[in-house]
Amino acid sequence: MRIKNHPILEDLKNRKKVYITVNGRKVEAYEGEPIAAAMYAAGIRVHRITPKYNEPRGIFCNRGRCTDCIMKVDGKPNVRTCTALVKNGMKVESIKGMGDWSE
Protein backbone atom coordinates (compact mmCIF):
# COMPACT_ATOMS: atom_id res chain seq x y z
CA MET A 1 0.00 0.00 0.00
CA ARG A 2 1.40 3.38 -0.98
CA ILE A 3 1.24 6.03 1.71
CA LYS A 4 -0.64 9.19 0.78
CA ASN A 5 -1.08 12.34 2.91
CA HIS A 6 1.61 11.47 5.40
CA PRO A 7 1.40 13.87 8.37
CA ILE A 8 5.09 14.80 8.19
CA LEU A 9 6.41 13.92 4.74
CA GLU A 10 5.30 15.73 1.61
CA ASP A 11 4.02 13.46 -1.17
CA LEU A 12 6.81 12.62 -3.61
CA LYS A 13 6.11 14.62 -6.75
CA ASN A 14 7.09 14.32 -10.39
CA ARG A 15 7.78 10.63 -10.25
CA LYS A 16 7.41 8.86 -13.54
CA LYS A 17 5.21 5.77 -13.46
CA VAL A 18 6.80 2.71 -15.04
CA TYR A 19 5.86 -0.96 -15.29
CA ILE A 20 7.85 -4.03 -14.37
CA THR A 21 6.85 -7.68 -14.34
CA VAL A 22 7.30 -9.83 -11.26
CA ASN A 23 7.03 -13.54 -12.07
CA GLY A 24 4.93 -12.63 -15.07
CA ARG A 25 2.62 -10.26 -13.20
CA LYS A 26 2.55 -6.62 -14.32
CA VAL A 27 3.38 -4.34 -11.43
CA GLU A 28 3.16 -0.55 -11.29
CA ALA A 29 6.31 1.18 -10.09
CA TYR A 30 7.84 4.63 -9.88
CA GLU A 31 11.18 5.59 -11.36
CA GLY A 32 13.78 6.00 -8.65
CA GLU A 33 12.41 3.38 -6.29
CA PRO A 34 13.86 -0.05 -5.55
CA ILE A 35 12.19 -3.17 -6.95
CA ALA A 36 11.25 -4.36 -3.45
CA ALA A 37 9.29 -1.15 -2.77
CA ALA A 38 7.21 -1.64 -5.92
CA MET A 39 6.64 -5.28 -4.97
CA TYR A 40 5.54 -4.38 -1.42
CA ALA A 41 3.24 -1.69 -2.77
CA ALA A 42 1.62 -4.37 -4.94
CA GLY A 43 1.32 -6.71 -1.96
CA ILE A 44 4.04 -9.09 -3.14
CA ARG A 45 6.31 -10.07 -0.27
CA VAL A 46 7.71 -13.44 -1.28
CA HIS A 47 10.89 -12.87 -3.28
CA ARG A 48 12.34 -16.35 -3.49
CA ILE A 49 12.18 -19.92 -2.19
CA THR A 50 15.05 -21.64 -0.41
CA PRO A 51 16.49 -24.64 -2.26
CA LYS A 52 16.56 -27.19 0.58
CA TYR A 53 13.42 -26.57 2.64
CA ASN A 54 11.31 -24.61 0.14
CA GLU A 55 10.87 -21.73 2.53
CA PRO A 56 9.59 -18.35 1.37
CA ARG A 57 11.99 -15.44 1.84
CA GLY A 58 11.62 -11.68 1.43
CA ILE A 59 13.17 -8.45 2.63
CA PHE A 60 14.79 -8.36 6.06
CA CYS A 61 17.39 -5.62 6.30
CA ASN A 62 16.11 -3.60 3.33
CA ARG A 63 19.52 -2.02 2.74
CA GLY A 64 21.50 -4.50 0.71
CA ARG A 65 23.24 -6.38 3.52
CA CYS A 66 21.39 -9.62 4.25
CA THR A 67 20.69 -10.75 0.64
CA ASP A 68 17.40 -12.40 1.60
CA CYS A 69 15.62 -10.43 -1.13
CA ILE A 70 17.69 -11.58 -4.11
CA MET A 71 15.92 -12.30 -7.39
CA LYS A 72 16.76 -12.68 -11.07
CA VAL A 73 16.47 -9.29 -12.76
CA ASP A 74 16.53 -9.10 -16.57
CA GLY A 75 18.29 -12.44 -16.65
CA LYS A 76 20.91 -11.56 -14.05
CA PRO A 77 20.64 -13.70 -10.88
CA ASN A 78 21.24 -12.71 -7.24
CA VAL A 79 20.27 -9.08 -7.59
CA ARG A 80 19.42 -7.44 -4.28
CA THR A 81 15.93 -6.10 -5.01
CA CYS A 82 15.88 -3.84 -1.94
CA THR A 83 18.53 -1.59 -3.49
CA ALA A 84 18.28 -2.23 -7.25
CA LEU A 85 16.15 0.49 -8.82
CA VAL A 86 13.28 -0.24 -11.19
CA LYS A 87 13.50 0.41 -14.93
CA ASN A 88 10.55 0.40 -17.32
CA GLY A 89 9.99 -3.09 -18.72
CA MET A 90 12.22 -4.79 -16.15
CA LYS A 91 11.64 -8.53 -15.79
CA VAL A 92 11.92 -9.73 -12.19
CA GLU A 93 11.78 -13.41 -11.34
CA SER A 94 12.04 -15.56 -8.24
CA ILE A 95 14.91 -17.97 -8.09
CA LYS A 96 15.33 -21.14 -6.12
CA GLY A 97 18.73 -21.15 -4.47
CA MET A 98 21.47 -19.05 -5.95
CA GLY A 99 20.38 -18.82 -9.55
CA ASP A 100 22.33 -19.79 -12.62
CA TRP A 101 25.05 -17.51 -13.95
CA SER A 102 25.48 -19.50 -17.12
CA GLU A 103 22.30 -18.14 -18.73
Binding site: I3, A37, V46, N62
Partner: protein, 358 residues
Protein backbone atom coordinates in the same frame (compact mmCIF):
# COMPACT_ATOMS: atom_id res chain seq x y z
CA UNK B 1 45.42 9.66 -5.32
CA UNK B 2 43.26 11.44 -2.78
CA UNK B 3 44.19 13.38 0.37
CA UNK B 4 41.23 11.98 2.24
CA UNK B 5 38.98 9.08 1.28
CA UNK B 6 35.80 8.84 3.32
CA UNK B 7 33.91 5.56 3.16
CA UNK B 8 30.25 6.01 4.08
CA UNK B 9 28.31 9.22 3.39
CA UNK B 10 26.02 9.23 6.39
CA UNK B 11 25.99 12.04 8.98
CA UNK B 12 29.57 11.28 10.11
CA UNK B 13 31.01 10.96 6.62
CA UNK B 14 29.30 14.05 5.21
CA UNK B 15 30.31 16.13 8.25
CA UNK B 16 33.93 14.97 7.86
CA UNK B 17 33.85 15.85 4.16
CA UNK B 18 32.45 19.33 4.88
CA UNK B 19 34.81 20.00 7.74
CA UNK B 20 37.95 19.12 5.76
CA UNK B 21 37.08 20.26 2.24
CA UNK B 22 36.31 23.74 3.53
CA UNK B 23 39.99 24.10 4.48
CA UNK B 24 41.20 22.88 1.10
CA UNK B 25 41.57 19.13 1.65
CA UNK B 26 40.93 17.08 -1.49
CA UNK B 27 38.16 14.73 -0.41
CA UNK B 28 36.71 11.65 -2.06
CA UNK B 29 33.41 10.64 -0.44
CA UNK B 30 32.19 7.14 -1.27
CA UNK B 31 28.83 5.51 -0.57
CA UNK B 32 27.24 2.29 -1.78
CA UNK B 33 23.76 3.83 -1.89
CA UNK B 34 22.38 6.01 -4.64
CA UNK B 35 21.94 8.94 -2.24
CA UNK B 36 24.16 10.21 0.56
CA UNK B 37 22.71 10.87 4.00
CA UNK B 38 22.71 7.41 5.54
CA UNK B 39 19.99 6.92 8.12
CA UNK B 40 19.20 10.65 8.35
CA UNK B 41 16.62 10.32 5.58
CA UNK B 42 14.72 7.65 7.45
CA UNK B 43 14.29 9.93 10.48
CA UNK B 44 11.05 11.92 10.51
CA UNK B 45 11.12 12.88 14.19
CA UNK B 46 12.60 16.05 15.67
CA UNK B 47 16.07 15.69 17.15
CA UNK B 48 16.93 16.37 20.80
CA UNK B 49 19.95 18.36 22.01
CA UNK B 50 20.64 22.06 21.70
CA UNK B 51 20.53 24.53 18.81
CA UNK B 52 24.06 23.59 17.71
CA UNK B 53 22.90 20.00 17.52
CA UNK B 54 19.93 21.05 15.37
CA UNK B 55 17.42 20.29 18.14
CA UNK B 56 13.83 20.53 17.00
CA UNK B 57 14.77 19.86 13.38
CA UNK B 58 13.63 16.64 11.72
CA UNK B 59 16.36 14.18 10.78
CA UNK B 60 15.69 14.18 7.05
CA UNK B 61 15.85 18.00 6.96
CA UNK B 62 19.30 17.86 8.52
CA UNK B 63 20.22 15.39 5.78
CA UNK B 64 19.22 17.85 3.05
CA UNK B 65 21.17 20.66 4.75
CA UNK B 66 24.34 18.59 4.96
CA UNK B 67 24.10 17.67 1.29
CA UNK B 68 23.67 21.34 0.33
CA UNK B 69 26.88 22.11 2.18
CA UNK B 70 28.76 19.44 0.23
CA UNK B 71 27.52 20.75 -3.08
CA UNK B 72 29.11 24.12 -2.33
CA UNK B 73 32.49 22.54 -1.67
CA UNK B 74 34.71 20.70 -4.08
CA UNK B 75 34.12 17.17 -2.86
CA UNK B 76 34.36 14.21 -5.22
CA UNK B 77 31.27 12.12 -4.44
CA UNK B 78 31.11 8.52 -5.70
CA UNK B 79 27.67 6.99 -5.21
CA UNK B 80 26.50 3.41 -5.93
CA UNK B 81 30.11 2.51 -5.22
CA UNK B 82 31.09 -0.36 -2.97
CA UNK B 83 34.44 -0.38 -1.18
CA UNK B 84 35.37 -4.02 -0.90
CA UNK B 85 38.83 -3.75 0.58
CA UNK B 86 41.61 -1.54 1.82
CA UNK B 87 45.20 -2.67 1.63
CA UNK B 88 47.82 -2.00 4.29
CA UNK B 89 49.42 0.61 2.05
CA UNK B 90 46.26 2.69 1.89
CA UNK B 91 44.88 1.48 -1.43
CA UNK B 92 41.08 1.72 -1.30
CA UNK B 93 39.56 -0.84 -3.67
CA UNK B 94 36.05 -0.34 -4.96
CA UNK B 95 33.48 -1.37 -7.52
CA UNK B 96 31.97 1.50 -9.44
CA UNK B 97 28.38 2.06 -10.45
CA UNK B 98 29.22 0.70 -13.88
CA UNK B 99 30.62 -2.46 -12.34
CA UNK B 100 34.32 -1.95 -12.90
CA UNK B 101 36.89 -2.58 -10.22
CA UNK B 102 39.03 0.45 -9.45
CA UNK B 103 41.23 1.67 -6.66
CA UNK B 104 42.56 4.89 -5.24
CA UNK B 105 45.56 5.55 -3.01
CA UNK B 106 44.51 7.55 0.01
CA UNK B 107 46.61 9.79 2.21
CA UNK B 108 44.07 9.39 4.99
CA UNK B 109 41.01 7.19 5.28
CA UNK B 110 37.87 7.63 7.35
CA UNK B 111 35.66 4.59 7.81
CA UNK B 112 32.21 5.93 8.64
CA UNK B 113 30.07 3.01 7.55
CA UNK B 114 27.56 3.24 10.38
CA UNK B 115 25.79 0.36 12.05
CA UNK B 116 23.73 -2.73 11.32
CA UNK B 117 20.58 -3.94 13.02
CA UNK B 118 21.03 -6.94 15.30
CA UNK B 119 18.59 -9.78 14.63
CA UNK B 120 16.63 -11.71 17.20
CA UNK B 121 16.29 -15.34 16.20
CA UNK B 122 13.02 -17.16 16.82
CA UNK B 123 10.96 -19.81 15.07
CA UNK B 124 9.64 -18.38 11.81
CA UNK B 125 11.96 -15.36 11.82
CA UNK B 126 12.87 -15.90 8.16
CA UNK B 127 9.30 -15.52 6.92
CA UNK B 128 8.47 -12.55 4.72
CA UNK B 129 6.95 -9.96 7.04
CA UNK B 130 9.71 -10.22 9.66
CA UNK B 131 12.22 -7.41 9.22
CA UNK B 132 14.39 -4.98 11.09
CA UNK B 133 12.73 -1.85 12.50
CA UNK B 134 15.10 0.21 10.37
CA UNK B 135 14.02 -1.79 7.34
CA UNK B 136 10.37 -0.90 8.02
CA UNK B 137 11.36 2.72 8.62
CA UNK B 138 13.15 2.91 5.26
CA UNK B 139 10.20 1.35 3.46
CA UNK B 140 7.70 3.84 4.84
CA UNK B 141 9.72 7.05 5.26
CA UNK B 142 11.93 6.85 2.18
CA UNK B 143 9.93 4.75 -0.29
CA UNK B 144 6.47 5.76 1.05
CA UNK B 145 5.22 2.19 1.05
CA UNK B 146 3.49 0.86 4.15
CA UNK B 147 5.44 -2.27 5.14
CA UNK B 148 2.48 -3.83 6.98
CA UNK B 149 -0.95 -3.09 8.38
CA UNK B 150 -0.83 -4.79 11.78
CA UNK B 151 2.55 -4.60 13.45
CA UNK B 152 4.22 -6.21 16.42
CA UNK B 153 7.36 -4.34 17.53
CA UNK B 154 10.07 -6.26 19.33
CA UNK B 155 12.25 -4.01 21.45
CA UNK B 156 11.53 -0.89 23.47
CA UNK B 157 14.75 1.04 22.96
CA UNK B 158 14.46 4.39 21.22
CA UNK B 159 14.38 2.75 17.79
CA UNK B 160 11.49 0.44 18.72
CA UNK B 161 9.50 3.22 20.37
CA UNK B 162 10.06 5.78 17.61
CA UNK B 163 9.44 3.39 14.73
CA UNK B 164 6.22 2.20 16.39
CA UNK B 165 5.05 5.83 16.54
CA UNK B 166 6.08 6.40 12.91
CA UNK B 167 4.24 3.25 11.80
CA UNK B 168 1.10 4.67 13.37
CA UNK B 169 1.70 7.99 11.59
CA UNK B 170 2.04 6.11 8.32
CA UNK B 171 -1.33 4.42 8.86
CA UNK B 172 -0.47 1.05 10.40
CA UNK B 173 -2.07 -0.46 13.48
CA UNK B 174 0.63 -1.32 16.02
CA UNK B 175 -0.69 -4.12 18.22
CA UNK B 176 2.06 -3.73 20.78
CA UNK B 177 5.69 -3.33 21.72
CA UNK B 178 7.28 -6.20 23.59
CA UNK B 179 10.45 -5.95 25.61
CA UNK B 180 12.32 -8.88 27.17
CA UNK B 181 13.80 -6.79 29.98
CA UNK B 182 11.67 -5.75 32.97
CA UNK B 183 11.75 -2.08 31.97
CA UNK B 184 11.85 -0.10 28.74
CA UNK B 185 15.17 0.69 27.14
CA UNK B 186 14.42 4.05 25.56
CA UNK B 187 13.36 7.52 26.71
CA UNK B 188 10.22 7.78 28.81
CA UNK B 189 8.91 10.59 26.62
CA UNK B 190 8.99 8.28 23.59
CA UNK B 191 7.15 5.61 25.58
CA UNK B 192 4.63 8.19 26.78
CA UNK B 193 3.70 9.32 23.30
CA UNK B 194 3.36 5.73 22.17
CA UNK B 195 1.19 4.73 25.14
CA UNK B 196 -1.21 7.65 24.93
CA UNK B 197 -1.97 6.92 21.28
CA UNK B 198 -3.06 3.46 22.34
CA UNK B 199 -0.04 1.21 21.72
CA UNK B 200 0.49 -1.17 24.66
CA UNK B 201 3.99 -1.90 25.95
CA UNK B 202 4.62 -5.29 27.52
CA UNK B 203 7.82 -5.72 29.44
CA UNK B 204 9.24 -9.16 30.32
CA UNK B 205 7.84 -10.56 27.11
CA UNK B 206 9.61 -12.02 24.13
CA UNK B 207 8.63 -13.47 20.79
CA UNK B 208 8.32 -17.21 20.56
CA UNK B 209 7.20 -17.75 17.00
CA UNK B 210 6.15 -16.03 13.79
CA UNK B 211 3.39 -18.03 12.11
CA UNK B 212 2.05 -18.00 8.59
CA UNK B 213 2.35 -20.05 5.42
CA UNK B 214 3.94 -17.78 2.82
CA UNK B 215 4.29 -14.76 5.08
CA UNK B 216 3.63 -13.63 8.65
CA UNK B 217 -0.01 -13.83 9.72
CA UNK B 218 0.37 -14.00 13.50
CA UNK B 219 2.92 -13.92 16.29
CA UNK B 220 3.15 -15.95 19.49
CA UNK B 221 4.58 -13.95 22.37
CA UNK B 222 5.50 -15.38 25.75
CA UNK B 223 6.32 -13.98 29.18
CA UNK B 224 9.89 -14.30 30.48
CA UNK B 225 11.32 -14.32 33.98
CA UNK B 226 14.16 -12.13 35.17
CA UNK B 227 16.64 -14.57 33.63
CA UNK B 228 14.88 -14.16 30.29
CA UNK B 229 13.59 -17.73 30.36
CA UNK B 230 10.14 -18.40 28.96
CA UNK B 231 7.36 -18.83 31.50
CA UNK B 232 5.19 -21.75 30.32
CA UNK B 233 1.50 -20.94 30.09
CA UNK B 234 1.96 -17.25 29.35
CA UNK B 235 1.82 -17.63 25.57
CA UNK B 236 -0.46 -15.34 23.64
CA UNK B 237 -1.05 -15.36 19.91
CA UNK B 238 -1.89 -12.13 18.14
CA UNK B 239 -2.75 -11.38 14.53
CA UNK B 240 -0.18 -9.34 12.69
CA UNK B 241 1.37 -9.12 9.23
CA UNK B 242 4.60 -7.37 10.18
CA UNK B 243 7.05 -8.13 12.97
CA UNK B 244 9.75 -5.49 13.44
CA UNK B 245 12.93 -6.32 15.28
CA UNK B 246 14.44 -3.39 17.19
CA UNK B 247 16.97 -5.23 19.29
CA UNK B 248 19.88 -2.88 18.97
CA UNK B 249 22.58 -1.93 16.50
CA UNK B 250 26.18 -3.01 16.12
CA UNK B 251 29.03 -1.24 14.35
CA UNK B 252 29.23 -2.09 10.66
CA UNK B 253 32.96 -2.60 10.73
CA UNK B 254 33.84 -5.26 8.17
CA UNK B 255 36.41 -3.00 6.53
CA UNK B 256 38.05 -2.52 9.93
CA UNK B 257 38.32 -6.28 10.38
CA UNK B 258 39.85 -6.61 6.90
CA UNK B 259 42.47 -4.07 7.89
CA UNK B 260 43.26 -6.04 11.04
CA UNK B 261 42.66 -3.02 13.25
CA UNK B 262 42.57 -3.53 17.00
CA UNK B 263 39.11 -4.03 18.49
CA UNK B 264 37.52 -4.08 21.90
CA UNK B 265 34.16 -5.51 22.91
CA UNK B 266 32.06 -2.75 24.47
CA UNK B 267 28.48 -3.85 25.10
CA UNK B 268 27.23 -0.30 25.69
CA UNK B 269 28.42 0.70 22.23
CA UNK B 270 26.91 -2.21 20.35
CA UNK B 271 29.58 -4.89 20.30
CA UNK B 272 33.05 -5.04 18.82
CA UNK B 273 34.31 -1.51 18.24
CA UNK B 274 37.61 -0.50 16.58
CA UNK B 275 39.74 1.17 19.23
CA UNK B 276 40.63 4.79 18.53
CA UNK B 277 42.22 7.76 20.27
CA UNK B 278 40.35 10.90 21.16
CA UNK B 279 41.03 12.28 17.68
CA UNK B 280 39.41 9.16 16.25
CA UNK B 281 42.59 7.66 14.80
CA UNK B 282 42.56 3.86 15.00
CA UNK B 283 45.39 1.46 15.77
CA UNK B 284 46.59 2.03 12.21
CA UNK B 285 48.13 5.38 11.34
CA UNK B 286 46.05 7.67 9.10
CA UNK B 287 42.98 5.47 9.41
CA UNK B 288 40.07 7.01 11.31
CA UNK B 289 36.61 5.95 12.37
CA UNK B 290 33.62 8.17 13.15
CA UNK B 291 29.92 7.74 13.79
CA UNK B 292 28.19 4.50 14.73
CA UNK B 293 31.05 2.35 13.45
CA UNK B 294 33.13 3.90 16.23
CA UNK B 295 30.48 2.95 18.78
CA UNK B 296 26.71 3.09 18.35
CA UNK B 297 25.39 6.40 19.59
CA UNK B 298 23.26 8.96 17.75
CA UNK B 299 23.21 11.06 14.63
CA UNK B 300 24.27 14.15 16.59
CA UNK B 301 27.42 12.46 17.96
CA UNK B 302 28.09 11.04 14.49
CA UNK B 303 28.11 14.54 13.00
CA UNK B 304 30.44 15.85 15.69
CA UNK B 305 32.83 12.88 15.34
CA UNK B 306 32.83 13.39 11.59
CA UNK B 307 33.80 17.03 12.10
CA UNK B 308 36.53 16.00 14.52
CA UNK B 309 38.02 13.56 12.01
CA UNK B 310 37.82 16.21 9.31
CA UNK B 311 39.66 18.80 11.37
CA UNK B 312 42.29 16.26 12.44
CA UNK B 313 43.04 15.34 8.83
CA UNK B 314 43.06 18.98 7.70
CA UNK B 315 45.60 19.70 10.44
CA UNK B 316 47.73 16.68 9.61
CA UNK B 317 47.91 17.72 5.97
CA UNK B 318 48.87 21.24 6.94
CA UNK B 319 45.72 23.00 5.70
CA UNK B 320 45.08 24.51 9.12
CA UNK B 321 47.54 25.49 11.80
CA UNK B 322 47.95 23.58 15.05
CA UNK B 323 46.46 26.42 17.07
CA UNK B 324 43.45 26.77 14.77
CA UNK B 325 42.94 23.00 14.90
CA UNK B 326 43.25 23.05 18.67
CA UNK B 327 40.45 25.61 18.97
CA UNK B 328 38.15 23.78 16.57
CA UNK B 329 38.76 20.41 18.19
CA UNK B 330 38.19 21.91 21.62
CA UNK B 331 34.75 23.18 20.60
CA UNK B 332 33.78 19.87 19.01
CA UNK B 333 34.94 17.81 21.98
CA UNK B 334 33.00 20.11 24.28
CA UNK B 335 29.82 19.60 22.27
CA UNK B 336 30.42 15.83 22.32
CA UNK B 337 30.79 15.99 26.06
CA UNK B 338 27.37 17.67 26.34
CA UNK B 339 25.76 15.06 24.15
CA UNK B 340 27.14 12.31 26.40
CA UNK B 341 25.66 13.68 29.62
CA UNK B 342 22.76 12.25 31.56
CA UNK B 343 21.91 8.69 32.49
CA UNK B 344 21.72 7.59 28.85
CA UNK B 345 24.79 9.45 27.66
CA UNK B 346 26.93 8.45 30.64
CA UNK B 347 26.95 4.79 29.64
CA UNK B 348 28.11 5.73 26.16
CA UNK B 349 30.76 8.08 27.53
CA UNK B 350 32.10 5.28 29.73
CA UNK B 351 32.12 2.97 26.77
CA UNK B 352 34.09 5.46 24.74
CA UNK B 353 36.62 5.88 27.55
CA UNK B 354 37.28 2.15 27.56
CA UNK B 355 38.09 2.37 23.89
CA UNK B 356 40.71 5.04 24.01
CA UNK B 357 43.91 3.81 22.54
CA UNK B 358 46.98 5.84 23.26
Amino acid sequence: MSDFVIIGAGPAGISAANESARYGVKVTLIDENNLPGGQLFTQTHKFFGSREHRAGVRGFQIGYDLIEEIKKLNVDVLLNTIVYGISADMEVKYITEGNSAKSIIAGNILISTGALEKPVVFKGWTKPGVMGAGAAQTMMNVHRVLPGRKVLMIGSGNVGLIVAYQLKQAGADVVGIIEAMPGIGGYKVHASKVRRIGIPILTSYTIKEAKGSTQVSSAVIVGVDKNLREIPGTEDEVKCDLICIAAGLKPFDELCWLLNLKFKYIGELGGFVPVHNDNLETSMENIYVAGDVAGVEEASTAMEEGRLAGVTVAQKLGYISDSQAGKLKGKIKNRLKYLRLGSFGRKRAEGKKKLTYK
